[in-house]
Symmetry: C2
Subunit: 771 residues, 2 copies
C-alpha cells in the first residue's frame, strides 16, 4: 500500500524565488543595524518618531537574469552541475523613518547575499514610476503617511483612541449600549477603513465601532463613526476630526457630547449587543428543531462523513520540499512567497516545455458603496494589508483533502519572523467528470479518460474576508486561475436610508454592495519569450456558394477574423468589444507552428464569471488601480515593471508609486516581444441574507483558463494510463476491455490517516533581540 | 462499515413523470393496432409507404393538474394515503403515415391509461403553434418530410445510396482512394447533415463520405459530397440532385462520372485512408517515447490509480428506485425521461419547500460554418435525433465515481423498447473546497464547512458529440445547471479555402467553427407559483455626503437600481443591456418577505461562460430556434406551452410546430404570474488541434447558478454537521476543537468494491411480434 505522502525528488536547479530564510533575514537585519548612517533604532526601543525596520524580504531576480540562468542550466544535464551560476540574492528592506524632519518610508535593496564586504544598500526604486518625497533626498522614498499601520505605532495609536473614546463612554453607553475604553470588559471593539490618504500629505481614517463576540464583530456595526487624523510621526498632534452618529455630523467630540447632554441629538435604533450567535459560525439547528418546521435536528445522514477525494494508490505528486518544487503528470513549477501578495508560481513547464514564467497575484481591490462614512470611503488594496501576511494554515479535510502536500510560508515584519504551517496545499483532485470521452454505439466502442487536476491553493483572511486562491493544472496542458471569497462581509449599520446600497441582513445590520477585483500577472512564454497577440473575432457573413440552388438565399454563417494586435491593449470579456463571447484571445510565437502549420498559441479564456471595476474615476482609487478598469491587459515585459501595484498604492491613489497607466501607455509594440498578461478575477458582490454569517465559495468563484490552442499537434492527454477503452464483440455484442486503466484493478488502500482536525496558528520568532 | 449503496426509502407520492413501462407501452401499441381507422401496418411488414408507429412515450401531466395533486397530497400526512388522485396517464403516439396520398406525421394523445373502454386517441395538438398539413384533415399533423430517419426506411434508403455510390466506385477509388458499396470491405462510410427541409415541402440533404475505422470516421472526411432528394414516401422517386468534389459542382452523377472519365475533373489531395490511429482514442505514448523528446513512455506515477471521491462512511443519498425519487441533504426531487430530451427533474424541494417545478433540456443547437456543402448547411436541433435516445450508460470510475446511484433509462421507438442500464448517475462529490470558512487570527478561532454537492448526470452521444448534462445541488440551496461537450468534432475536409472557417487539425482534416446552444427550461416556483421578475442594476452615482470636507469631490460609487419587470422579456449575460455583469436577475413572490423585510427571491446567475447563437437570421434556423437568440428568457407559464421546441422543428425552420417567438410575443404580463425561465448554455467552438481526437470537458463547460437571494433569513448550511469549529485557548495559544465535524474521527471504510469497468450497451426488447 503506497504512502499517501508525495514522493521526494530533487529539483532540477535551486529555487531562484525561494523566500529569505530566517537566517538570511536575521543577517540582513543585523547588517542594517550596523549601518550607522541609517540611524536605525532597535525594534525593542523604537517609537513612531524613530527610524525602524518594518519589512525584510526577497527581491525576486530580474527575469532577464533568471531566464538566462535557467536556459543555460536546462541545457546542461538537468542537474545542478551547471556551470552558469544563479542570479545573486537581494533583500528588500523597508524602513519606516519617523525620526527625520520629513518622516518617510524608505525602500532599500540590500545585497548580494549572503552578507559580505560586497553587500551594499541602495535605493530600491527602479520598479517605481513615482518614488520621491519633497524634502527627502534620493529615490525609493514614500510619504510616511502612506505606511502600513505597523507594530511600533500600536501603543501610541491605542492610547490615542482609548483616550477620546473613554471620554465619551457615557453617551456611548446611552446611545449604543456599550463603550470602548480599552478594557477587556468593553462591549465594543473597532476597525477602520482605507485608503487613509489620497496623496501622502495627510493620514486620516474613519473608525467604526461594533459589538465584540465570537465572530460577531464583523456583522455588528453600531452606526457610530469617528474620523481621526494621525498624520506624521508625532502622535501628540493626532486628533479627532469629526464624529457621525445616526446621520448627524459633529465637527468635534465636544459637539457630540454637548448634543447628547442637551438632548438635541436624534437617537437611532440600538443594535442588540447581547445576541451575537446569529453572527457566528456556531452550528445551527438543534434548538430550531423544536421551533420551526420543517427543520430537522440535523439533515438526514449528515452524521456520516461527507465524501472525500482520496488517493487509493498513493500520491502521484513528486516534490522537492526544500526548494518548493513540484512535479505532477508532466507539469512542473517552483513556488515563491512574499508578504504583500502571498504565493507565487514560477517557471511552469508542461511536458518539459516552458509555458508560463510567472503567475502571481498583484493586488486585490474591494471597493464599497453606501450611505455612511465607512462604506462610501472604503476601497481596500489588500496588498497593503498583506495578502501574504494573512495567508494562514489551511485545514486538512476541510480547506483541502487529507493527504495533500503542504508547504509552510514565512515572512518577516515588525521584527518577527512568522511561519504559517501548512499554508499552501497541493493536491490532486477527482474532477468528478472525465477529461474526455466518447461512447460510440455506431461502431461499438467506448473510451474515457479519468478527470483529475492538480490544485495549488492558498487562503488569505484579510481581516473579514477569506480569499481562496487556486491554480488548477489539467492533464491536457490547461491552467485555470481561480479565486473565490468566503468569510465575513464588511457589514455596516442598517437603516432605511441605506436601501439603495445593499441588503438588510439583520435587525440593524446590512451588507453593502461592493466590487472585488483581484489582479493577476500571467507571464506566458509560449514557444520562447518572443510572443505576439492574436485575436479571432467571430463575425457574421452572408455568402453565396456554388452548390446551392439558384433561388437559395445567401448563407448566413460565421467567419474567423484574425488580427495580430500591434500594440499594448486591453480587452473586455463581456460587452464593449466582445459581446456574446465572440472574441478569442491568443498568445504565442508567430514563428512557431505545429505540424498543421498553425501558430502554436495559448488561449486566455474566461471561466467562471469575470468582471472589472464598475466605478469609473473614483478618487479613492484614482490612479492606483488602473489595472482594474478592464478584464485583460497585454503589455510588454520590462524588468523595471515587475508588478501592477505595490504596498503603497493603497494610500497614494493620486500619485501611486506603481502607476499601471504608465505601463500600458504610451502603447508599445507587442509584436514578437516578451508579453505579460494582467487579468482580473472578481465579482460584484450584491449581498443577500445568505451571506450570514459567511459568504459562500459556491457562487463567488471567478476564473480564467489558460489553454493550449494549436500548441500541440493533438490532444496531449492521449498518453494517460488512467483511461479505458472497451470494444464490442461483433458476435456476442458484449463489450470487452481493449485498454484498461490504471485504476481498473483492486486498489483499495486507505491511506487516510489521522483525520483529527489540527489548527496550529502562526508561529512567530522574535528576532528583535537576536544578534 | 455502512454500505456505499444509497439507502432505500419510499417516495412521498407516486412519480407523475415516470416514463411508460414496457407493459404500458406494449398495451398502447396493441391498442393502436386494434384501431382499424388508423390503418396501421405492423412493424415487421411495414415499408415507408405504409402507416406505422414510430414512437410511444408518456405525455407528462399538465402542470395545473399536477400541482393541484401535489398540493393536496403534501397537505395530507406525507404518505400515499391522500384522497386526491394523481392525474391520469396519457401516451404520445407518433405515426409515420406514409400510406396516404398526402403522407404525413400524426401525433396522437392516447389515454387514459391503463387501457380501458374509456381510452381514446385524440390529436395531440394543443402544445403546438403550427400543426396542420394542407390536404390532411385535423390537427396534430406534420409534413412527412419533417420526420426523423426511422427504422422502416433504412432498407430503402440504404439501397438508394448503395445503388448510386456503387455506380461511381471507379472514380471514387481513383479520386478518394476508396468507395462505398454497402460492403463490409468498403473503405468509406457516410453521414449527412441537417436540416433536411425548410418547410416540409421537400426533404433533401448532403451526404458526406469519410474513412471507416476505429473511431476515425468522424475525423476522416474525404471532401466528397452528394446532395440527395428523398422527398415523400415513394422511394422510387428519390434522386441525386448534385455532387461536389474539390470545389467542383456537378449537377448529376453522370456529369461527375464524365468529368472524371474525360479528365476534366480537377483532382484534390487524397486523405490517407490507411492511417487512422491518430483519429482514435487508442492510447498514445509508447511508440512516441523513442521518437520525440521529451515524451516519456508514460507520465511519472500514472501507473497509480488517480484519486477518486469516496464515501468512507456510506452513501448519504436516499432514493426510491421504483419511483425515480431522490433525497440528499434536505433536497428532494423526482426524475423523468423522454426520447427527445432525456433526463428531466421534477418537484425539486429544499428543506421541504418547493423551489423548482421542472428543470429540463429543451433543445440543443449546433450550427456550423464553412466553405463546403456540409458545414455551410448544418444546423442540428438534437431533439430531433433524440437526446434521450442517445443517452447511454455512464461508466463507473470514469464518467461518474464508483458507488454512485444509477437509474436506467428507457424509450420506445421503431417497435423496440430500449433500456440503457446505468444511464443516469447520481452521486455526492467532494467539491475540493469548503462551502464556507473563516479563519480569525484576530479573535483566535477557525471554522469551515466541508464542501460537497450532489451531482445528477446523464451523457448523450448524439452521433459524434458527447454532451455531459449535470445538475449540481449545493448544501446552501443553490442549483448549478451545467453542460459540457466532449466526443468528436463534426470535422470536414481541409483545403486552404477553409482557413477562414476553422482550424486545420491534420493533413486533410479541419475543425469548423460552430456554436452550441443548449436550451433549458427552469420552472422556478419561489414561494408559490405567483412570481415576479426583479432586476437590480448596479449604476454609478456621484453624491455629496455631509460628513466629507467641503472641498472633497463628490463620491463616485454604485447604487442599486431595482426594477420590477412588467412583461415577458429576455436578457443577455454579456453585452447589450448587461456590460460587465452589472445586472442581477431575481425571481420570487413579491408578497413573501424574509425576516428582514426582503423579498424572498432566487437569483439566475451565470457560472462558466454562457453564450447564445452568434448568427442572426440564418434560414437554417429561421424561426425554429428563436430561444437561441438571447441568454435568458422569462415567460408566463401555460399548459399549452410546455416546451420551447419539438421533434419536428429541425426540419421546419420556416414554420416550426413550436414557434418560440409566439411564446414570448406579444409580451404578456409577468407580474405575480407563474413564470418559466428558459436559459441557454453553450459555447462558440473554435476548434484547435487539441480537439483531436476528442474535445475536452475542461474548457467546454458552461453553467448557470440558481441561487437563493434573501430566500432565507441567513445561510442555510449552518446546520451542517460536516463542519468544524476550533477556538484558541487564550492561555496556551493552542487551538482546540469546539465543535467537531462528522468526519473528524476514524472513518476509513473502503466501500470501493468491483472496479472492473463494465460497459453493457443498450438492451433492446423487440415488441413488434408481441401480442
Ligand atoms: Ca508598456
Ligand atoms: Ca512573456
Ligand atoms: Ca407568452
Ligand atoms: Ca414557475
Ligand atoms: Cu464581498
Ligand atoms: Cu463543438
Amino acid at each position: 500500500c503506497p504512502s499517501d505522502t508525495p514522493i521526494n525528488i530533487k529539483a532540477p536547479h535551486e529555487n531562484l524565488w525561494k523566500p529569505l530564510t530566517e537566517q538570511e533575514t536575521l543577517s540582513v537585519q543585523e547588517w542594517l543595524y550596523d549601518q550607522k548612517e541609517l540611524n536605525l533604532t532597535q525594534f525593542t526601543t523604537a517609537g513612531i518618531s524613530d527610524n525602524s525596520i518594518w519589512l525584510i524580504e526577497l527581491i525576486t531576480p530580474n527575469k532577464t537574469e533568471a531566464v538566462s540562468y535557467l536556459d543555460s542550466s536546462s541545457s546542461s544535464t538537468n542537474n545542478r552541475n551547471s556551470n552558469s551560476s544563479p542570479p545573486k540574492r537581494y533583500a528588500r528592506a523597508i524602513l519606516f523613518n519617523g525620526g527625520y524632519s520629513v518622516p518617510h518610508v524608505k525602500e532599500l535593496q540590500v545585497g548580494p547575499l549572503p552578507i559580505s564586504s560586497e553587500t551594499k544598500a541602495v535605493s530600491f526604486s527602479y520598479i517605481y514610476q513615482n518614488s520621491t518625497v519633497p524634502g527627502v533626498d534620493g529615490e525609493g522614498v514614500f510619504p510616511f503617511n502612506a505606511r502600513t499601520t505597523y507594530g511600533i505605532e500600536s501603543t501610541a495609536l491605542g492610547a490615542f483612541i482609548v483616550s477620546f473614546m473613554t471620554d465619551i463612554k457615557d453617551p456611548m453607553n446611552d446611545l449604543i449600549g456599550g463603550a470602548y475604553t480599552g478594557s477587556e470588559d468593553d462591549k465594543l471593539t473597532f476597525s477602520w477603513q482605507g485608503p487613509n490618504s489620497f496623496d501622502g500629505n495627510w493620514r486620516r481614517y474613519w473608525l467604526f465601532f461594533m459589538g465584540r463576540g465570537f465572530g460577531a464583530q464583523y456583522l455588528s456595526p453600531t452606526g457610530f463613526f469617528v474620523y481621526v487624523d494621525t498624520s506624521g510621526s508625532d502622535a501628540s498632534t493626532w486628533y479627532v476630526r469629526r464624529v457621525v452618529y445616526n446621520h448627524q455630523v459633529f465637527q468635534s467630540l465636544d459637539d457630540f457630547k454637548n448634543a447628547w447632554q442637551n438632548g438635541s441629538i436624534k437617537k437611532g435604533t440600538k443594535i442588540n449587543l447581547d445576541d451575537d450567535k446569529w453572527a457566528t459560525r456556531q452550528r445551527q439547528g438543534e434548538e430550531l428543531a423544536l421551533l420551526i418546521e420543517p427543520f430537522c435536528e440535523q439533515r438526514p445522514l449528515d452524521d456520516r462523513v461527507a465524501p472525500e477525494s482520496t488517493n487509493f494508490n498513493g500520491s502521484r505528486i513528486r516534490a522537492d520540499r526544500e526548494e518548493g518544487y513540484v512535479e505532477w503528470m508532466d507539469w512542473s513549477f517552483y513556488t515563491g512567497f512574499n508578504r504583500d501578495t502571498g504565493l507565487t508560481l514560477w517557471d511552469i513547464r508542461f511536458k518539459g516545455e516552458k509555458i508560463i514564467y510567472e503567475i502571481s497575484i498583484q493586488e486585490a481591490l474591494a471597493q464599497y458603496s453606501g450611505n455612511d462614512p465607512i462604506q462610501s470611503t472604503t476601497a481596500y488594496l489588500d496588498r497593503h494589508y498583506g495578502i501574504g501576511e494573512e495567508t494562514r494554515q489551511v485545514l486538512m479535510g476541510y480547506d483541502c483533502p487529507h493527504g495533500a502536500l503542504t508547504f509552510n510560508t514565512s515572512y518577516y515584519s515588525d521584527s518577527k519572523f512568522a511561519v504559517n504551517t501548512d499554508a499552501i496545499c497541493i493536491f490532486e483532485q477527482d474532477l468528478g467528470f472525465p477529461t474526455s470521452r466518447h461512447s460510440d454505439p455506431t461502431n461499438g466502442w467506448y473510451g474515457s479518460t479519468k478527470g483529475t487536476a492538480l490544485h495549488v491553493r492558498s487562503m488569505a483572511t484579510v481581516y473579514n474576508y477569506d480569499y481562496m486562491f487556486s491554480y488548477i493544472f489539467y492533464l491536457e496542458g490547461t491552467v485555470e486561475i481561480l479565486m473565490g471569497a468566503s468569510g465575513y462581509l464588511q457589514a455596516t449599520y442598517w437603516d432605511g436610508t441605506q436601501d439603495d446600497y445593499g441588503t438588510r441582513i439583520h435587525d440593524t445590520t446590512m451588507g453593502s454592495v461592493h466590487t472585488h477585483v483581484v489582479n493577476y500577472k500571467v507571464d506566458l512564454d509560449v514557444g520562447g519569450t518572443a510572443n505576439s497577440l492574436q485575436t479571432i473575432d467571430l463575425v457574421q457573413e452572408d455568402v453565396k456558394f456554388p452548390w446551392f440552388d439558384e433561388d437559395d438565399p445567401p448563407t448566413k454563417q460565421l467567419r474567423l477574423q484574425k488580427t495580430w494586435v500591434e500594440n499594448e491593449t486591453s480587452f473586455s470579456v463581456q460587452g464593449n468589444n466582445n459581446n456574446n463571447g465572440q472574441r478569442v484571445l491568443l498568445i504565442g510565437n508567430k514563428e512557431k507552428k505545429n505540424a498543421w502549420g498553425q501558430e502554436r498559441m495559448y488561449r486566455i479564456m474566461p471561466g467562471y464569471h469575470t468582471i472589472h471595476n464598475a466605478v469609473k474615476g473614483s478618487g479613492r482609487v484614482l490612479n492606483s488601480a488602473k489595472w482594474g478598469e478592464d478584464d485583460v491587459f497585454i503589455v510588454k515585459h520590462k524588468d523595471t515593471e515587475p508588478s501592477s501595484s505595490t504596498t503603497w498604492n493603497q494610500q497614494m491613489p493620486i500619485y501611486p508609486p506603481v502607476d499601471f497607466s504608465k505601463i500600458t501607455t504610451p502603447a508599445e509594440s507587442i509584436d514578437q516581444e516578451d508579453l505579460v498578461v494582467y487579468l482580473n478575477l472578481g465579482m460584484h458582490h450584491v449581498p443577500r441574507a445568505e451571506d450570514t454569517p459567511n459568504t459562500l465559495f459556491t457562487d463567488s468563484r471567478s476564473s480564467f483558463f489558460i489553454a493550449p490552442f494549436n500548441y500541440f499537434d493533438d490532444e496531449p492527454s492521449r498518453d494517460i494510463r488512467n483511461a479505458v477503452l472497451l470494444v464490442q464483440d461483433p458476435n456476442s455484442g458484449k463489450y470487452g476491455v481493449e485498454e484498461s486503466g490504471s485504476g481498473d484493478d483492486d486498489k483499495t488502500c486507505t491511506p487516510r490517516a489521522d483525520v483529527t482536525p489540527a489548527y496550529i496558528g502562526q508561529v512567530e520568532t522574535d528576532l528583535s533581540s537576536s544578534g
